[in-house]
């Protein structure tokens, strides 16, 4: 539909985000015996294009003889208005084909506030937003990504949900759907095909489950048929070495976030930060072999022309032999040009700064650390076991090595947080500025504060989050405490957005009606501060008789049925509950990569193991900082002793 689109693009902002043509993009040939996947990201191209999950699936699917894959992103409001005015549908970027030509529209969901965009894109695709209203000829609407560990708020809009790593499961889904496609999709066959899909491990088909309530409380989510699984287990790729994707990373023609070569060095994290959903649901740690990383970096740089590579993971400094790897890449040249390496997450210690110093030979502008909480007590609660000395040594090393700006990430609204903990943030920031004065005239420390949202499958899933007013009070406390501190700047995330994220994060299926109402009332791009509108959400919740406070602020009890109890991230619920009790008792838990197993369930349940090249933790420590914290750290070793201290595949 390029000819119809072309005149519209002359009238919209940043039209380059709709043309495709990226290096690495494909123009697959559709056919009757090939399942056509439209891989969609419910936000703008600039945010969605770099998404590695979609890029991996794009290549894996296009390599298959029975599948083709193209991509779509949310059109900005100007183009959406023109499309609707002209009666044109959502389109793919690769061959500019209408979304209605696809069999599956698969969304990556990384942020709750994009849910209304998902509905908008489904509607733009000429498809009823509720799965119950769809007919045989409509595309299947699917979702994967971290948000789908609680898909209930959007369950009524999705035909199926994928839990966990997508590399293997997309093949199994394709095999079911291709049979249906070849059969010509006779009337009434959609439900039977979905039922068959529910047999694929890792696929959740919401329409195959009954939801029952006991008054306002959820009583259970149970399969409607005996052959549909009671518990849907996530999928985990055992060895990243089998999947060196993306092989041809897309190189956009226009500016996007993370515009560089990205190479995933490991998946999973067992540091055990209790607020971190990503670390809990992606276990165990699976390192990519260092040789494969080197090859992917070398070939990727040569092919793309980028002069920057990011080594991605949840905590890249923990990669076995990271120093050697970084030194090799930083010393190499590609295309006659110096290569810069970036690590998206830096550990809070001098070791991390040491690596950063190696990486950034050029101008040193800013370094970012995430101590997450203002006091040692609070950091024990969240199991981010960084001592003040660790932070100060890291910050001093940064200033001593020429950096001028330091950015510190914190969460506020954490369980058991007191004003002392909040003010501890100001104290840390001020002390960092003082340290910087030894090395530079005007050191600057930016404190970035996010409101904490409890997530499913974390020890904090039972915690009632702080109210908008309480978060605002804490932010003001922090602002007042730093007002006279030269060099300290405070930035914060809007507590109103935090509240809506909280409703979506732990909501049940009833919340879906409110999401639909917000969308119908024009509430798209809610993760953009200029578009976010809390009043839209509160009005929609009220219209459907839903209490936002009950969803966001209420503490859950041990016996309460949670909306995601019929799904599994491998983690035993009693492990999470014990970790929650430990948190409240301010007891830390070491990283199980290098210490005994606690039987959280993520490995044992699926007969998989950590794949870590080095059996010893980096820089001599097994704690959150990677430093040897000595015996003074009150860490309790829970769980059983391992049979062997070594790690790695057997």
């Amino acid at each position: 539909m390029w000819p119809q689109l072309e005149p519209l693009l002359a009238k919209v902002a940043k039209p380059a985000r709709y043309i495709g043509l990226e290096d690495g993009s494909q123009r697959p040939e559709h056919a009757n015996d090939r399942v056509a996947w439209l891989l969609a990201y419910p936000d703008t191209y600039e945010i969605g294009l770099p998404n590695q999950g979609l890029q991996i699936l794009y290549e894996i699917l296009n390599e298959r003889p029975d599948a083709v894959a193209e991509r779509a992103y949310a059109p900005w409001t100007d183009l959406e208005a023109l499309l609707r005015e002209q009666g044109l549908p959502l389109f793919s970027l690769d061959t500019h084909r209408p979304a209605t030509d696809f069999d599956i529209i698969g969304f990556n969901l990384s942020a709750e506030l994009t849910y209304t965009n998902l509905l908008n894109m489904v509607d733009l695709a000429g498809t009823p937003v509720r799965s119950a209203d769809r007919l045989e000829h409509h595309p299947l609407i699917a979702a994967g990504g971290h948000c789908t560990y609680n898909p209930e708020p959007i369950a009524d809009f999705l035909d199926f949900v994928v839990l966990g790593d997508g590399e293997e499961i997309v093949a199994e889904i394709t095999e079911v759907v291709v049979k249906w496609k070849i059969s010509g999709r006779p009337a009434g066959s959609r439900a039977a095909m979905l039922r068959e899909l529910s047999h694929v491990s890792g696929v959740y088909v919401p329409s195959m489950y009954d939801v029952t309530y006991d008054g306002s409380a959820l009583a259970g989510i149970t399969p409607r048929f005996a052959d549909v699984p009671e518990i849907v287990e996530k999928r985990t790729v055992a060895d990243l070495a089998d999947f060196p994707y993306p092989k041809n990373q897309l190189v956009p023609l226009t500016e996007v976030v993370h515009d560089r070569l990205n190479v995933e060095v490991f998946r999973g994290c067992t540091r055990g930060c209790r607020f971190c959903q990503a670390g809990m649901i992606t276990r165990p740690v699976r390192e990519r072999p260092a040789e494969q990383v080197r090859t992917m970096v070398e070939e990727g740089l040569r092919r793309t022309g980028y002069d920057e590579v990011a080594l991605t993971s949840l905590s890249t400094a923990d990669f076995s032999g990271i120093e050697d790897l970084v030194r090799d890449i930083a010393d190499s040249t590609s295309n006659n040009s110096p290569v810069s390496v970036s690590l998206p997450s830096l550990r809070v210690d001098a070791f991390g700064v040491g690596i950063a110093t190696q990486l950034q030979k050029g101008r040193r502008t800013g370094l970012t650390f995430a101590p997450e909480a203002g006091t040692w007590r609070m950091r024990q609660v969240i199991n981010k076991l960084i001592r003040e000395e660790d932070l100060y040594s890291a910050v001093e090393a940064a200033y001593a090595n020429g950096w001028r700006r330091v950015k510190l990430y914190f969460l506020t609204g954490l369980p058991t947080e007191t004003d002392e903990d909040t003010l501890g943030i100001a104290e840390l920031a001020r002390n960092c500025v003082e340290l910087g004065k030894k090395y530079t005239k005007s050191p600057s420390v930016t404190v970035s504060v996010g409101g904490f949202v409890p997530k499913p499958f974390t020890p904090f899933q039972w915690f009632g989050q702080n109210t908008v007013e309480e978060l605002r009070r804490k932010i003001n406390l922090l602002r007042d405490a730093t007002r006279k501190s030269h060099g300290v700047q405070v930035k914060w995330h809007d507590p109103k957005a935090t509240m809506v994220e909280g409703i979506m994060s732990r909501g049940d299926r009833r919340v879906g009606a409110a999401i639909e109402t917000v969308w119908r009332n024009g509430g798209t791009f809610q993760e953009w501060s200029e578009c976010f509108d809390l009043d839209l959400w509160l009005a929609a919740m009220e219209e459907h008789g839903l209490d936002p406070d009950w969803y966001a602020y209420r503490h859950r009890t041990e016996t309460e049925v949670l909306p995601w109890d019929h799904l599994s991230a491998g983690l035993h619920k009693d492990f999470l509950w014990q970790d929650w009790r430990d948190a409240l008792a301010e007891v830390g838990l070491p990283d199980c990569r290098w210490t005994p197993c606690y039987d959280c369930g993520a490995c044992t349940g699926y007969s998989i193991e950590h794949i870590v090249a080095s059996a010893t933790p980096p820089a001599g420590g097994s704690q959150g900082t990677g430093q040897d914290l000595g015996s003074s750290v009150p860490v309790s070793l829970l769980g059983r002793k391992p049979e062997s201290a070594s790690v790695g595949a057997e």
């Binding site: 005149p7 039209p15 380059a16 495709g20 043509l21 023609l253 226009t254 793309t304 006659n336």
Partner: protein, 280 residues
Amino acid sequence: MRIRLRYSKHGKVRFTSHRDVARIWERVLRRAELPLARTEGFSPRPKMHFGLALSTGHESLGEYLDVDLREPEADEIDLGMLPERLSPLLPLGIEVEAVSVINRSDPSLQEAVTSCVWRIEVPGQSVDSLTSAVAAMLAADAIPVVRERKGKQVADDLRPGILHLSVLGSTPDDAPQAGAVFEAELATQPRSIRPAELLAAFDPPLTEGRVCRIYQWINEDGATREPLSQGAHVTAAAIAGAPREDYSDDRSHGRAHHTQDSVGSDGISDAADASAFDFV
């Protein structure tokens, strides 16, 4: 060594911005493993010098880019092969057509270029109505316009900057919107007149359809030449001049036929036409 490249930009890729194209070039020059000269300092960038910016959405058959190469490595490069080496690395729709060595002391593209020839599609116009509108504009002694300059409204006369206008006929079959098409040579000195300004100055204003920059000219002492000096290495496609109807996405696109149905000219463009690319 400083080389000057001429390239075209057409099809879907026309929706990239000037800034986007600069970043694309930076990556492509790295991939081509050319011995790029770099700026000094903490974050060395390749030394590239772009000509007059092309508006997002406009196509072009004549874009220019100067690149500095390190010596003596640069002497090893077969410049004749360079277009064929670079084009496959560029996105579909951007093609290198010619390259030549220029003197470092030569004025920059932005200083040197004096006018641009544009082919402008006007949707919804008949050839006749466009012909009379163009005639009226050429007959005018002055075309007063008000434009914004540094936040202030200033009066300006567009007429001296309009060097040539001619109606070419109806829009080609592949045009997104049917209408008529004309060609305009607009001065870039003392300031660059944009096609949008020209269209807005018609009475009534004309709608902008597809716009393509056909040539950039350097007028020195009354003689007109294109920014590549004599002896440029030009690809076969550029010499052959593939028909302009070919707006498809394949890579066979080349230079346009330059047939004119001139309705009034001050002669510059015709003179230019005669000398256009006859250096091959």
